[in-house]
Structures are given as structure tokens and as C-alpha cells.
Amino acid sequence: MKRIFDTQLIGPFAAMVIVALIVALTTERFLNPGNLSNLSLQVSIVALIAIGSTIVIFAAGIDLSSGSMVALLTMILAQLLKFIGIPLVLALPLILFFGGLLGLFIGLITAYGRIPSFITTLAALIAFRGLALTFNNGSPIFSLDPALEPIFYGKLFGVPLPFFYLVFFYALAAFTMNFTKLGREIYAVGGNPAAAVLTGINVRKVQTTTFVIAGFMTAVGAILMSARLNSGSPNYGQTLELQAIAAAVVGGASLAGGRGNILATLMGAMTIVIVQNGLNLNAAPSSVQNIVLGLIILLAVGIDMWRAEISALMGRIFGRSSSQQSSSIKKEA
């Protein structure tokens, strides 16, 4: 437990709480139970996809494809349900499988083709949206299946179902990263791939696996998106990949790879969503939302980067020398 809830969580957790406090001060509607249960709906899709994006980042990769992949998968799901007539219980696992499969392709090309993941997933970002447009002449497909909506809007003991998905997948991810061979191999590959090769870690396999995980989690997100909107559309998920990466980054994941706590990503996603919710509740225009989100990303990373300087400054202000050394690692450029 100590391993999972480590000191890396303090920063993102504090950020989340501070942001929540500020929002709660600006509007009493924030702490309304209805609104709080809304938050778990709002955060669910991006936070679930961010699990995959973060794990790819841990292995020093980047996944730009998830937004387009969501579009493609919602179209495939729509096609399956509406035009091919496959029952929902079969279609959902199929979508998860396709998500993993697309991730596998990306992973194989990246790892075995030695192409930087920025490039492969940029290509996928463009191509997947094109593929999504080939279905149904590029038109959205509506009213897929009445049984789809409860997947997103349903409740258990009065708590929205997406809350449970979040708990389940984040618990699984935290366990994997901290207590399994795979998890440690992902960190090792991200930290120093050359060293990982020399120690016998199958670096390419590990890299590929991270993309399979990302594809799978994107499929989970795509299913929730389809359930929420009861439709599939080639336009869904635009910039979702950036939101997912933003969640990881606000949570403190280093793009250089090798370190970070997966639970911090959940907090990063929560922070972003709380801010958006707060702005929505105060009826702020979308322009302000964008500006604020940009600043949050900068601030979150800045605070992480300048931790040593900030703590030194704090020490000077509060008159005690900061004895704790910065845990940030000097990366060879």
C-alpha cells in the first residue's frame, strides 16, 4: 500500500484539493451531491483512456492516437449493433478486442519498426479518423441500442457506474505497475531501454504491450462514449488524446519516461474536470476554459520541475533549511 500511495501523489492530490476548494468557494452548487456524482461521469472517459496514455508515457512513448481511435471504435460498434445486428453482449468484447488489436499494430510498428511512437501514433491519429469516415459514408449512426445507455448512466447503490469502472481499472493499473514483473519492466524500459535490453528484458515486447494496454483502455473509453451518446460518429474524441496526455502530465508523469504514479493521473484528470466543472457552473465561456486548462498544464509541470527551487524558497521564507533533497532526477539530455 505504501508503495502505491507514495509521496509522488502528494503534489497532484494537493493540486486537486486546492482547485476543488477554489471552485467550492465560487459557487455553492459545486458541493451539491448531484454535481459531485456528475464529476465521476465527466471524468470517466478521459480518465480511463488516460490509464493507457500514462502507461505508454511510463515506457517513454507517447500515444496521440486515442482520440481518433475512439471515433473509429464507436463507428465499428455502431456498425456492429445497428447494421450487422450483433447482440450487445457480443459486440462489447469485440470492441475491446479491436481496441487491443489496433494498439498491437501501433505497438508492433513502433517497437519492431524502430519508429518513434510520436510518428506512428501521429500517423494513426490521421489514418484512424479516415478509417472512421469510411463507415456509413462518414455520417454518425444514432440510437444504437437502448441497453447501451445504462452502461454509462446506470447506478449501483445510488453511485454512477462509471465510478466503479474508474475504481476497478485504476486499482488494476496501480497493482500492475507496482507489483508485477510487467509493471517494473515498463518503468525499466522507460528509464533506460539500453540497460533493459542488456538485462534481458524484451524491450520491444514491453513497448508493444503498453500500446496494447492503451488500445484496450481506449476501447473502454469508446464504449462509454457510445453509451453516453448512444451513437457512433467519426467526429467523436477530437483532442481527447491531448486531454488524456494532459491528465497524465498534470498528474506529474514525466514525458522522459521511467517514473510516475498511475494514480496521480486520476488526480490530474480530476483536477482538470473540476476546473471545467467550476467554469461551467459559473457559466464561463469556452475561451476561458481553454486558457485556464493551458495554464494548469504549465503550472502543474512547472511546479514539478521547480520543486527543488520552490522548496528552497519556502525554506527561506519559513526560516528553516529544507533538508529533504529533491527527488527529481537529473536526466542526461
Binding site: R29, G34, N38, G138, F142, R228, S231, Q238, N280
Partner: protein, 321 residues
């Protein structure tokens, strides 16, 4: 009267007006268009605000930036549901996605009206629909084109919007209008993504692949404005350019002679009508149903006369006409 007499919605699509329960003494109304990227919805919003100011009610606009961001719009509707709002005036690119949330709004006693639509059978019962008939508008401009240019064979290019209800209806209306007329031949039809940049690229491409084009119809004014630049660049000053909306800039381009004609749908007036209906609904004096706002075809002279009444326009024309 403030708006045309409502036409009843289809069976089962009408929510009960007497179930509306305003919570605030000063009505709080949310205007939720599909996106802020379209001037058109801003113009509607200005109409709404104008009436709100007169009537002394509170109104706020909440919308994602991109029309494609339906997920974002649903999030916003959800956020609004937990607030003490008395009415929602919404427009959406995905009525099926919005339906479950709007059902909750109706159940909570909010007045729910859809704007810029002619859907008589929204998937869940709502209180009213305000808008022009998308099909009739573009069919009228097709009729106008036949009347004006129909005496010789014409090759026509179409710039669609991104696939969806609006694109289907508007393009469908135009095609309905020219159907059966042997002089009109549609040779190409591509997506212009609803915006100027997309319209420009599409215009460039279709004029290049079909240098003998005589007429372009675009499903909105932005795209035809974009296409007009393409025509100009290729030295095609003789081409007939038709749009849809009655956007102020579209009208100004028509007045300047860069575009031939458009369907003027007066979004500002549509917004006013919608707001009047909403306040009436909250006061129980609106029977429910579809309010069809009028449209007209405006060519150069028509556009100038519309531009001479700036109080009915948003944004304001760039100069006095």
C-alpha cells in the same frame, strides 16, 4: 404577436406545458447551442439576450467550442441539470445523445425548447421547437435558381457540411428543388466542413477537377464565402454561388457582388422568437409545438435591403448600407 402560431409536434413528442415548474422568481435560462464556433448561434443568442433584457430574465450561454465536441456538450448539459435553471434553450448536432439528459430536464420541471430545428419528433418529449424548415429554405433557393438561370444547361457543384441532419436536409432540399429539371446537372458533391477554410479548399478542388462548373451550392454561408475566394483565384467571376443562413457577412458578400444569393433565415429574429416562447412557456401561456420562423431568398438587392435594418442583425454590418 411575438412569434408565428406554433404547429403541434408529433404524437408523443410534446411534453406537458403545465408540468413546468419555475424555481426562481427571476427566471434563469440556459442557452446551449452546439458550439461557439458558429456565428449563427451567436446571432441567435443575441436575439435571446435582447428579449431577456426587455423581460428582465437572466440568461447565460454555455457551449463547447467545436460542433464536433458532442461529448463536451453533454457534459455541459449535465452540469446545468444540477443547477437551479428554469429553462434550457438548446441546439445539438446529436439529438439522440442529448435525449436522455433533456428527459431529465423535463422531468425536473424545466422548460426545454430546441432551437434552429424543424424536428417535429424529438426522441424524447420536449416543450417546443423553434426554427425554419431546413428543407423548404434550400428548396426555395433551388426554385429561385431555376427561375433565374434555368433556361440553359448548368453544371452544379455542391459543398456539403459535415455529415448529419443539417447537411442532409439542406442538400436534400436543394436536390429536391432541382429534381426533374434537365438543365441542372450535379457533377460533384464534397464536404466543406461547415467553415470558410473547408469551403475554400473544397471550392478549389471542385473547380480544379471540374473546370466547367457553372454553379456552386454550399450548405451554409461560410463555405460559400470560402468557395468564392477559390472562384476568384481561378478567375471564375461568372460562377453562380449560393449559400444558406443569412449570416451578416454572407449578406455583405452578396451586397458586394462576391456571392450570388442565400437563404436568409434571420437567426437574430429566430432567437427573439425562441426567447419569447420560452418565457411564455414558463408563464404557462405557450401551448407548445413548432414555431416556424420565416425565410427568404436574398440576392444583391435583397441583401442590401436586409442590411439596411441592422437592428435585426447580428453581428452588425461592417458599414452602413
Amino acid at each position: 404577436e411575438n412569434y408565428p402560431t406554433p404547429v403541434p409536434l408529433q404524437d408523443g413528442a410534446q411534453a406537458a406545458i403545465d408540468a413546468i415548474e419555475p424555481k426562481n422568481d427571476t427566471f434563469r435560462i440556459a442557452y446551449m447551442p452546439p458550439a461557439t464556433e458558429f456565428n449563427y448561434y451567436i446571432a441567435i443568442g443575441e436575439g435571446i439576450k435582447a428579449v431577456a433584457a426587455e423581460a428582465g430574465v437572466e440568461v447565460f450561454m454555455l457551449a463547447p467550442q467545436s460542433g464536433a465536441d458532442i461529448n463536451g456538450q453533454m457534459g455541459m448539459i449535465q452540469d446545468v441539470l444540477t443547477q437551479d435553471v428554469d429553462a434550457i434553450i438548446f441546439g445539438t448536432h446529436d439529438e439522440f445523445a442529448a435525449a436522455p439528459l433533456l428527459k431529465q430536464a423535463v422531468d425536473k420541471g424545466m422548460a426545454v425548447l430546441m432551437i434552429n430545428s424543424d424536428i417535429p419528433n424529438f426522441p424524447t418529449p420536449i416543450h417546443g421547437v423553434v426554427g425554419y424548415s431546413q428543407r423548404n429554405g434550400t428548396q426555395a433557393i433551388a426554385d429561385w435558381a431555376i427561375e433565374t438561370y434555368g433556361d440553359q444547361p448548368l453544371k452544379v457543384g455542391i459543398i456539403e457540411g459535415q455529415p448529419g441532419y443539417h447537411s442532409t436536409e439542406r442538400v436534400g432540399g436543394f436536390l429536391d428543388g432541382i429534381e426533374g429539371n434537365d438543365n441542372f446537372e450535379v457533377v460533384v458533391s464534397i464536404d466543406g466542413k461547415w467553415n470558410v477554410e473547408g469551403g475554400n479548399t473544397a471550392g478549389m478542388d471542385i473547380l480544379q477537377s471540374n473546370p466547367d462548373l457553372d454553379m456552386i451550392f454550399a450548405a451554409n454561408d461560410y463555405m460559400i464565402i470560402g468557395a468564392s475566394f477559390a472562384a476568384k483565384a481561378l478567375g471564375r467571376n461568372d460562377i453562380v454561388l449560393l449559400g444558406n443562413d443569412g449570416d451578416t457577412s454572407g449578406l455583405e458578400e452578396i451586397a458586394a457582388g462576391n456571392i450570388t444569393a442565400t437563404v436568409n433565415t434571420s437567426p437574430f429574429l429566430m432567437g427573439k422568437a425562441a426567447m419569447h416562447a420560452t418565457i411564455d412557456a414558463l408563464n404557462g401561456s405557450y401551448p407548445g409545438g413548432w414555431i416556424e420562423t420565416p425565410t427568404s431568398i436574398e440576392d444583391k438587392d435583397g441583401a442590401i435591403s436586409v442590411l439596411q435594418e441592422p437592428e435585426k442583425l447580428f453581428p452588425q454590418p461592417s458599414k452602413e448600407y
